[in-house]
């Protein structure tokens, strides 16, 4: 099986096989990322994997700089720190040259259209564009205009595919029977996404990936931010936190996006925290081995108690590390690389 796509626009359009290919490739990159301490640990634990998990074959380490000589443009027309840095680091680790263009610096502020900006970038012989844009559908629009790969780094409230990939990758690591492997499926895993779902591209991408991987997904939060229309995406919609969190194996918190909520979506941050903030008591309702995830940036004390964010159940920083591996895998595959660590049939 080989990777056939030039663009990564949405997780809605990816097949389960394609998600597996990206995750397998990311696992190989992650090992190269963390070689040293983790490799040493891995060699004592043995890299032989059990038959129930995907074997991550030993010699799969990628070539050191497969994208040497490639020019990747990070076109970030909406503010971003983590995602832009992660794409930047991922591309540089692959040997690519990276040029970052931010909204305020680009010609869009002078009235240039997105089409013109993008065609200019292509004319400068860029090899790929990573785009972050406040308007949903913009990456698809660019993919219809340009012939170079377009990677969606978040489009409005639509999708943030690399975030959905890194989050599900993190879950597959967690549920794997052995360190260093990935759980072949998330079938039946009880995943709760809590917070601002309406405006969240992270939620949408996660929902698509989780459903394809078989997870049992509940979204929960105030009715204004968690509208019933989401049930059409195959998830349970709940406004009852206790019920939703009971025995959940993963809880993913989403940031309350103050900047988008000039519209009165809930009375106050205080009331939100009172009703839906994750604190120790509520965390105790979770499955004992549950993990707590957050795509960042965290509003400590709003959607999550500060202690929980730093506590043993939190995998928040592991998500960040996985974000590099996932973006390396996506850039590698969309720019013509082969799938690494071919999953077992």
């Amino acid at each position: 099986m080989s990777w056939m796509r030039r663009h990564l626009l949405t997780l809605e359009e990816l097949s389960l096989d394609e998600i597996d290919q990206i995750h397998a490739t990311a696992a190989a990159f992650k090992r190269s990322l963390t070689q040293g301490a983790e490799r040493a640990a891995g060699s004592t634990g043995g890299e032989a994997t059990s038959s129930s998990s995907q074997p991550l074959a030993e010699p799969a380490d990628p070539a050191p700089a497969p994208l040497r000589g490639k020019r990747i443009v990070n076109l970030f027309l909406e503010p971003s720190t983590r995602t832009r840095m992660a794409f930047d680091m991922a591309a540089k680790r692959l040997g690519a040259d990276v040029i970052s263009l931010e909204g305020s610096a680009s010609s869009t502020t002078k009235g240039e259209t997105l089409r013109d900006t993008a065609e200019n970038i292509q004319a400068m012989q860029a090899d790929a564009i990573v785009i972050r844009h406040a308007a949903a559908g913009s990456p698809l629009y660019l993919s219809q205009i340009l012939h170079i790969p377009i990677i969606n780094a978040g489009d409005g409230a639509h999708e943030h595919p690399t975030q959905g990939l890194l989050d599900t990758f993190t879950m597959r690591e967690h549920f794997a029977p052995e360190a260093g492997s990935l759980c072949p499926t998330l079938k039946g895993r009880r995943v709760v996404i809590l917070g601002d779902i309406l405006f969240s591209r992270v939620a949408r991408s996660n929902i698509h990936a989780l459903r394809k991987l078989g997870a049992d997904v509940t979204i929960v939060g105030p009715a204004t931010l968690v509208p019933h229309h989401f049930s059409a995406l195959g998830v349970r919609v709940s406004h009852d936190l206790r019920h939703a969190l009971a025995d959940a194996e993963v809880v993913m918190l989403l940031r309350i996006q103050h900047e988008r909520q000039s519209l009165s979506m809930f009375p106050s941050l205080g009331e939100y925290t009172g009703l839906f903030g994750l604190n120790k008591t509520r965390a105790s309702w979770l499955h004992p081995d549950a993990i707590i995830m957050h795509p960042g940036p965290i509003n400590r004390g709003v959607e999550i108690d500060s202690d929980l964010a730093d506590g043993p159940h939190s995998v928040i920083l592991n998500q960040v590390t996985n974000g590099i591996a996932i973006r390396m895998a996506v850039l590698h595959l969309c720019l013509g690389g082969q799938v690494l660590n071919e999953p077992a049939a």
Partner: protein, 482 residues
């Protein structure tokens, strides 16, 4: 004690009002009814004989093979042998001959937005679509909120239009919803209705006063029913599809609330309020109930809202972006039911041209609106006649006599009655053809049907007895602005 049925106001209602002048010279600039300008200068009478047609005249409940005779721009029952010999004879070859189509909501973009459309190009697109009368909206630059702008539009119509174009005026100054426009002066300048179009009047107080005031001149208020607070930033129907696409939703409730408001104000003031481009199932229900109570309200639906749903937006194609937005299948079915049972009075296109570079943008940033004039008949036939099984005569009624009645355009408008101006559309209801915007007559190309095979084709359009469009070509000599 409420009086559900209010008497139709007599015209003129207020004799003492200086501004009221109900003997306005002509509400439509071209051609002055009943005779066309040409006939007054030309010595030879214009004679037309259409033979071998399937004549559909909803006003007469007529759907039968027959002939049509025209003399001096008007229908006549027969022609003398000498006139027949002199007449231009058109063998319709079995085509349907119906009254020229009437569209009570189009945007011709003149003055001020001539890169999108002009009265010249828009009237040609209309003629190509079988239309002989269109009502143009007042959201031009500057808007039609003063008699001078209306006069400018009348001048352009006289100079450039190949069919009848009826201007509307604004309800409020600058369509800002704050101060009443000089509605009396607009009436005297010859507008057929007042409307703030896309900028629905939000203040119930202003709308109430506009209703009371416009009623003096028997001017209908055309309202684009949209509550702004409920639709801030909205670009498509709110529902499952907007949820999937991550686009800001425009809930049905925002239309329903204003439809209900307008019904209440019409009941309270007796003014005629017309609901433009209805999209919501519950709005249709509200209108049905209001009409049953005898309240003076009417409504229209567009071909695109009865043909398409929000599922069409999956590819973020901006040619499916319009306001109000495409709704769900349930709404679509409710519109069709409303058209079938008479609740909705007319098909109107909301023809809204935009230049390619304006539509070629991120979905959020593209302007609302699509072309409609050149595809209205085939799309409407496909939905109402072939899909929903309405008799051809009833479908044509929704595109001729009934819209004419909503705005009382001119005597005999939308009929083939003797004495009425000879406006005719000849079309083949089952003929398939490929619509290509690049070969169309509008200045713009923003149609969701570009490149598609459509069924139902206009062959010939006749306005005031003159053939203005025939077999793919504009044949009228009026207007050379383009």
């Amino acid at each position: 004690m409420p009086t559900p049925r209010r008497p139709r106001p007599k015209k003129p209602e207020l004799q003492t009002q200086v501004l009221v002048n109900t003997t306005t010279p002509s509400r439509s600039a071209l051609p002055p009814h009943p005779a066309s300008p040409a006939s007054s200068t030309s010595p030879a009478p214009s004679l037309l004989w259409i033979a071998n047609a399937r004549i559909i005249d909803p006003a007469a409940q007529r759907d039968a093979a027959g002939e049509i005779f025209v003399k001096d721009g008007c229908f006549v029952d027969s022609l003398s042998a000498a006139d027949k010999a002199a007449a231009r004879k058109i063998d319709a070859g079995g085509l349907v001959a119906c009254p020229g189509l009437i569209d009570i909501q189009v945007h011709l973009r003149e003055p001020g937005q001539l890169h999108k459309e002009t009265i010249g190009t828009g009237s040609r697109a209309a003629a190509a679509g079988g239309f002989t009368s269109v009502v143009c909206m007042a959201n031009t630059t500057p808007p039609g909120d003063n008699p001078a702008t209306i006069q400018l539009i009348h001048d352009a119509i006289k100079r450039d239009s190949v069919i009848r174009v009826y201007p509307t005026g604004c309800i409020t100054v600058g369509m800002k919803g704050e101060t009443l426009a000089p509605i009396g002066s607009l009436a005297r300048a010859g507008v057929v209705a007042i409307t703030d179009d896309g900028d629905c009047v939000q203040s119930n107080e202003i709308m109430r006063r506009a209703c009371e005031y416009a009623k003096m001149f028997d001017l209908p208020l055309l309202d684009h029913c949209q509550d702004h607070a409920l639709t801030a930033g909205a670009v498509m129907n709110e529902g499952e599809v907007s949820t999937r696409l991550g686009l800001r939703g425009w809930p049905n409730a925002a239309e329903d609330i204003i439809v209900a408001r307008n019904i209440i104000l019409s009941l309270y003031t007796g003014a005629h309020v017309h609901m433009q481009h209805l999209t919501s199932a519950y709005s249709v229900e509200l209108l049905r109930a209001a009409k049953a109570r005898g309240i003076r309200v009417t409504g229209e639906a567009t071909p695109h809202h009865i043909a398409l749903t929000d599922e069409a937006l999956g590819g973020y194609n901006t040619n499916f972006k319009m306001n109000p937005p495409l709704r769900t299948e349930a709404d679509r079915q409710a519109l069709i039911a409303g058209l079938k049972d008479g609740t909705i009075d007319a098909i109107a296109t909301d023809h809204a041209p935009h230049a390619n570079y304006e539509k070629d943008r991120e979905f959020d940033h593209a302007p609302f609106g699509i072309l409609g004039l050149e595809t209205s008949l085939p799309i409407t036939l496909s939905v109402l006649h072939r899909e929903a099984g309405m008799p051809l005569l009833e479908v044509i009624d929704l595109m001729t006599r009934r819209p004419a009645g909503v705005l009382k355009l001119h005597d005999g408008a939308g009929t083939l009655a003797a004495g009425a101006p000879a406006d005719i559309c000849l079309f083949a209801p089952d003929e398939k053809w490929r619509y290509e915007t690049a070969r169309g007559f509008s200045k713009s190309q923003n149609s969701p049907w570009d490149g598609q095979e459509l069924t139902g084709r206009v062959h010939t359009t006749i306005c005031a007895g003159k053939v203005v469009y025939d077999q793919g070509r504009i044949t009228a000599d009026a207007g050379r602005s383009e």
